[in-house]
Amino acid sequence: MTVTEPKTSGGVIGTRMLRKEDPSLLTGESKFSDDLVIPGALYIALLRATVAHARIVSIDTSAAKSSAGVVAVYTYDDLKDDWAGPMPCAWPVTADMKNPAHFPLANGKVNYVGDGVAVVVANSKTAAIDAIEAIEVEYEELTPVLDLEDSVSDSTVIHQDLATNSSYLWELIPNKDAVDEAFSNAVHTVEERYIQQRLIPAAMEPRSLVVVPAPFGGDFTVYTSTQIPHILKVMLALTLGISETKIRVIAPSVGGGFGSKLNVYAEEVLALAIARKLRKPIRWTEERTENALATIHGRGQVQDIELAADANGKITAVRVNILADMGAYLQLVTPGVPLLGAFLYHGVYDIPNYSFSCTGVFTNKTPTDAYRGAGRPEATYAIERAVDALARKMGVSAIELRRRNFIPKEAFPYPSAAGLTFDSGDYAANLDKALSILDIEPILAEKQARIDAGSTKVLGVGLSFFVEMCGLAPSRVLASLNYGAGGWEAATVRILPTSKVQVVTGTAPHGQGHETSWSMIVADKLGISPDDIEVLHSDTAIAPYGMDTYGSRSLSVGGSAIHLATEKVLDKARAIAAHQLEVSADDLEYSNGTFAVKGSPEKAYPLAAAAFEAFTAHNLPDGMEPNLEASVTWDPPNFTFPYGSHFAVVEVDTETGKVELVRYLAVDDCGNRINPLIIEGQIHGGLVQGIAQALYEEASYDAAGNLLTSTLADYLVPSATEFPFFELDHTVTPSPTNPLGVKGIGEAGAIASPPAIINAIIDALSHLGVSHIDMPASPQRVWETINNAGK
């Protein structure tokens, strides 16, 4: 399939349409799970482990049971017959992957601070929380395993039945000998170790849910703040042994997820189990500290990366070894997260020899899982920092070295050494555009002038040129990675008798503006107003099929399904119009809501008439079914590969170590652009999260395994005040892998920005002898780095 531009008729695509979602969000009309008024609901609260690794000697719930307002108190033993099996991990990355049984409540042993120990059911939230304090647990403490290298050594094994802390070893080494040879022939090599600190997703809306049993029939409605209503329905059915037909999952308005709501959580399983047991609605909303402790964390890797290059700096091989922190258990896709980056450690460079291996290890910490970018920020960080290190070592400019290694424009579709086919790209043109906006010469002159003047405010410029694979995902590729589901997306477009349009999508937006973008795709094609289109989503009874929203997949996969369903419904309308006008369908052209005979525009038939005709079915072509509706399930043939140049200019105060971001320029290429306003919003949010990783955020633990950053006073999510006005621009290289020619933008900012910031800091300090700093580059860490470099 070759696409240069989306086939548009309405001029809606590409406009900065304001989001349809916003008025009701801004006025509070939209409802989040915790807003739902459900009479008679009981509240649950969890007692969570206060120690990282311990055997449970005893749990005394007697005082809690008699506490005011308490209906029941349960431990693992009380509920063990209420579920059919452990909570799911859908991504067994290797056949011999070790996966500890993970239940909603701890079975005799706790494995991280935050692990569920008991659950209280009470008639108010405060009664439930007060009763939690009355439960007494006696622990026999065990040595906590916190460090990844300690963990691999197996000196203390967390899950005794597995006999090791290593969950899996996953390798992608197409030709080991060739890699070794490239390294032995190399003129220049670099060998670097980078740390990807753990991050806490911290969505604005914490997790929240209400499970409502139907008054008869044994059905349950699960309202939950999730990114994956469809997947969750299937997983809850399997985990609890309830027929899938009896569970309806609805995600009301969802206030952000960033991957943290791409999961099946203990509280969801518990609430459904208890609702079934007590035949009462059950509700729960996470507290902010629970969000830090018991919602998944992101990242958590030790990355060893080596590059081999010839005399010219042409990189000939990349070798990567990763230790990836799984945390205490495998959540829904925990083990697969590093694999989403595994193919991208050569970045935008044409590197012929490739070696990647990853060991997933358990620790006594909160489980990790997908967090904005999932695997790809880690890969981008490693290659973009290593290329800078190579440039420094060779004494060539980081920009020049990148140019020497870019995958050339002519090479697309580009078969990578890691086994992917990069869809399309023109990296040099994108970099040229960024450089023309940046105007780097005066910055470099100012940088030098400050060094010469002995200033304590030094400047640095950092570049990150990223590529990612998104649009998850071709189902067959997922099969080859052992992923437990497909990557298709479903859409239905329904033109109603009054010619209003219903669009049903399997995507599950939680801040991305799908109602707007999907309306635009349909409006553009049908030549009608986006206001006449209603997008239905995130309710498994209304949108029965779907693979939900993550991995920058919704537009390229879900949007394509909608585009194709719209074409299909329009074809049916065209057949009705042709029948009514007594011409052949091929003789009709369609614009602005009306079919007209080519060459005789007075012979016309409006779409609205076709819609009504399809409804009355009084005079349809022979054999045509009534109603104007079409469904398409689209399975993409390939990933999409967005890319772009990101430049950071920083000012470092060498006396205090504080880094100030002076400028940030992002020139992204996400293929064709549906709504630039939404694209820019996604980039802004992604940049803030990525820059936060570089400068502010880290889940810190003490030596006993207590999370020290369990409130938003300690876990430093930055605010708008900390950022300059982002400078954004773009290039457009349509993707040939989907009919819209789009790529994906939801994760790009978070993927690209961390190395741009760190490279800029190192650039600012390199005259002092600094060549490395880990994230987050806190003032103290920068100050210490400067001190140590001087020694």
Binding site: Y696, T709, A713, D714, P718, S719, E722, P779, Q780
Partner: protein, 272 residues
């Protein structure tokens, strides 16, 4: 993040608040609630009763009294920030208030609450210390005045007695230079280290988050007042001080920051 249960009563005058406090052992005053409620939510404080003085408007004022400016204890940070009286007579206090937390904190939090709480990491207590202000307290036994240098006694501990209410803060006008250096990672945060310097005849320098309570940089002050250079005096900023260590700063880094910031503060205070 839910407090234990408690009773709540709203006082409409200082006298009423004093009498409720006298009759209830475990009652606590509630002003803006922006220090007390976070402690209660973490269940680090569990008072049996809150006596809300937040709406006693007679305690919200900023008045020029000649040599000093009188600030009512219930004056919100935001009112300090925009006060014309302070702007011309004690601009440092407006500036410091403008750096507290974020706008919603500044619209609720009160100077009296901040000073009475006596948090060594807070901005306003250190500011009143460097400004040599005087606290006015009312209690069952009448009214008394406490100089800032005798007000802060230890970790969240002040010279206020059980049952006393801080009603007013008398702030001497600034005739010389001043500076407030707040060092933090995010604009909305507490200071990792902060420094207030006031050159009002003599030089006073106070430190934020360098100990369990707001501290004076006594060695620096002594050096300055005996004619040492700014760099020499600044090098003594942390002399005799044992700063805390936390996620943002080790004790060593805090000592270093204190010297850097004191130097910047003294330079700025000397140039204005």
């Amino acid at each position: 993040m839910f407090p234990s249960s408690f009773d709540y009563v709203r006082a409409s005058s200082v006298a009423e608040a004093i009498s409720i406090l006298a009759n209830e052992e475990d009652a606590k005053l509630l002003a803006g609630g922006h220090s007390l409620l976070p402690l209660m939510k973490l269940r680090l404080a569990s008072p049996s009763k809150l006596v809300d003085i937040g709406r006693i408007s007679e305690l919200s004022y900023i008045e020029d009294r000649g040599e000093y400016v009188a600030v009512g204890a219930l004056t919100r940070h935001r009112d300090l920030e925009v006060s014309a009286v302070l702007g011309s007579s004690v601009p440092m206090l407006s500036h410091v208030a403008s750096l507290v937390g974020d706008p919603s904190v500044r619209h609720r939090g009160t100077i009296g609450g901040s000073v009475a709480h006596g948090d060594g990491a807070s901005d306003l207590p250190a500011a009143v210390l460097a400004l040599d202000a005087t606290m006015v307290a009312q209690g069952p036994n009448g009214t008394r005045e406490i100089p800032a240098s005798e007000f802060f006694l230890g970790f969240l501990e002040t010279a206020l007695e059980e049952g006393e209410i801080l009603t007013e803060i008398k702030v001497p006008k600034i005739h010389g230079g001043w500076s407030y250096q707040k060092f933090n990672r995010r604009a909305q945060d507490w200071a990792i280290v902060g420094v207030a310097a006031v050159r009002n005849g003599s030089t006073k320098v106070s430190l934020v988050n360098m100990g369990s309570m707001p501290l004076r940089a006594l060695a620096t002050e002594a050096a300055m007042n005996s004619g040492a250079s700014i760099s020499d005096a600044a090098a003594l900023a942390a002399e005799g001080i044992d700063p805390p260590a936390d996620l943002n700063a080790s004790a060593d880094y805090r000592r270093h920051l204190a010297s850097v910031l004191v130097k910047r503060a003294l330079e700025e205070a000397s140039s204005s």
